[in-house]
């Protein structure tokens, strides 16, 4: 069965820390995505990648960067975490026009 795995379900970090969120998919999908979900704001796209070492900004890239060194792995980096980055982070992958598969999410709290 299809699997998108996010390394942590819950994370607590301090303001100013560098944070890495890891995501791995086992479906050989070309496209991978990072979203955040906040109450009342829905799902907002942070970054996506359509190939290894390729990345594009989504709707809210400020304060984030990404890395895709291998096809199956897509990392989201918060260079200096801030309290307004407290959120549920969702990784997803898809192939072409097929549907999007999501991981279980990482609830990040920045104190």
């Amino acid at each position: 069965d299809v699997k998108v795995t996010q390394s942590s379900r819950y994370l607590v970090k301090r303001t100013g820390e560098k944070v890495f969120l890891e995501c791995v998919q086992d479906m050989d999908h070309e496209n991978m995505f990072w979203y955040r979900q906040d109450p009342g704001l829905g799902l907002r796209l942070i970054y996506f990648s359509y190939d290894v070492k390729m990345k594009e900004k989504g709707d809210i890239p400020e304060g984030y960067s990404v890395s895709r060194e291998k096809k199956e792995r897509f990392s989201l980096i918060l260079e200096s975490a801030s309290t307004n980055q407290t959120s549920m982070y969702l990784c997803a992958s898809k192939q072409g026009n097929e549907k999007l598969f999501f991981g279980s999410g990482t609830q990040l709290s920045v104190l």
């Binding site: 829905g42 799902l43 996506f48």
Partner: protein, 114 residues
């Protein structure tokens, strides 16, 4: 500017009754729509989709209707069950290209009361 809109943030229905979740879109060039369901502390899962060449798609208790002239789609759940309580997102690939991405609505939280 939001291209896909879910104007009701929440909906509450009784078990056994029909749930109707609505979604509006602004660009008539959208040609494919998806509904996702999300439980708390889990990632969204795909529920049902519809292409613009159809006006209805049914899968068990779930039916999606598309009204292209009104730029409106709706998800019907009949009969509603307590396990259907979740946040439902409407989504579509943007017509201007970049079909790898999906544009999501803000979601509607459905509560089905026993």
């Amino acid at each position: 500017d939001q291209q896909v809109k879910q104007n009701s943030p929440s909906l509450s229905v009784q078990e056994g009754r029909i749930s109707i979740l609505n979604c509006d879109y602004t660009n008539s060039m959208f040609d494919y729509f998806l509904w996702y369901k999300k439980y708390p502390a889990e990632g969204p899962t795909f529920l049902i989709s519809i292409s613009s060449i159809k006006d209805k798609n049914e899968d068990g208790r779930f039916t999606v209707f598309l009204n292209k002239s009104a730029k409106h789609l709706s998800l019907h759940i009949v009969p509603s069950q307590p396990g259907d309580s979740a946040v439902y997102f409407c989504a579509a690939p943007p017509p201007q290209g970049g079909s790898e991405k999906l544009v999501f609505g803000k979601g509607t939280k459905l509560t089905v009361n026993p």
